[in-house]
């Protein structure tokens, strides 16, 4: 348990920092500070990669439990976020931008799962 926590923690360290840097840069780049492009970006990226890695786990034994804890539970779990997504949607609703809130939810869920499937599909082909 302790060793697994270590791997999860290390992955979490880099995942959180990656999320911080990527989402800040993306949000600054998109002049619209209203729509949460930053969070969308990191969540999309995380979904794509977790689909791919899950495919690898399913079709091969290249990723042992330690690597899974490091990359999937640790890194991707910290790279993506549900709380920020929830708060940003809530903030949109509170500022009466209900349509944007609904769009945010739909985009996150639909494109997120599509990307996840795509990553899985690629891993399926390669392994």
């Amino acid at each position: 348990m302790l060793m697994q926590c270590l791997f999860v923690g290390i992955g979490g360290f880099f995942g959180a920092i990656s999320r911080f840097i990527i989402s800040t840069k993306v949000q600054n780049y998109s002049k619209s500070s209203v729509f949460p492009y930053g969070t969308l970006c990191v969540n999309f990226l995380g979904c794509l990669i977790i689909g791919f890695l899950s495919g690898i786990v399913l079709h091969s034994n290249y990723l042992n439990l330690d690597l899974q804890n490091l990359l999937i539970t640790g890194f991707l779990g910290a790279l993506t976020t549900f709380s920020t997504f929830g708060f940003e949607t809530y903030a949109l609703i509170r500022s009466r931008a209900i349509t944007l809130a609904v769009i945010n939810i739909l985009l996150q869920v639909v494109i997120g799962i599509t990307l996840l499937w795509f990553g899985f599909f690629i891993a399926d082909i390669l392994f």
């Binding site: 999860v8 995380g46 991707l76 779990g77 910290a78 549900f82 920020t84 929830g86 708060f87």
Partner: protein
């Protein structure tokens, strides 16, 4: 390299360190919580572990943002550590997506749809609840 750029880089590194440490704690909290939930409920079809950490994270983010709004002395470092670092790592969208995807491909479409709806709806409710509770406590204390 311009001095201004070096200062900016140092700031970014410092902020990243704060976020990173929060991230370590958040990820480990998530790991332990999910195992804890699974220990009690066994392997369920509905992804209870992910649900619990995500809803908890939403509740807490509402509360912390209310604290930031109420008490402006709470600095940006708190926000970086608790919200970006800890809560960002405590909650996960990738696991949520994977859980939903696994439900879909194992032909449990209804549970997949239910998972999406309940996490979004209760998540938003939790953010609102956390925010409102702190605001109310703040008002009571001022009276």
């Amino acid at each position: 390299m311009r001095k201004r750029n070096i200062v900016k880089l140092k700031l970014l590194l410092f902020q990243s360190l704060i976020v990173g440490i929060g991230g370590i704690l958040g990820a480990i909290s998530r790991y332990l919580l999910e195992n804890f939930v699974m220990f009690f409920t066994g392997k369920t079809l509905f992804p209870l572990g992910t649900f619990v950490v995500n809803m908890l994270g939403c509740l807490l983010i509402g509360m912390i943002f209310a604290l930031i709004d109420n008490y402006s002395s709470v600095g940006s470092r708190v926000r970086l550590f608790f919200i970006t670092g800890y809560l960002g790592a405590l909650t996960t969208f990738s696991s949520f997506g994977l859980d939903t995807f696994k439900l879909i491909i194992s032909n449990h479409i209804m549970i997949a749809v239910f998972n999406i709806l309940i996490q979004v709806v209760i998540g938003l409710f939790a953010v609102w609840l956390g925010y409102v509770v702190i605001r109310i406590i703040g008002r009571i204390r001022r009276v």
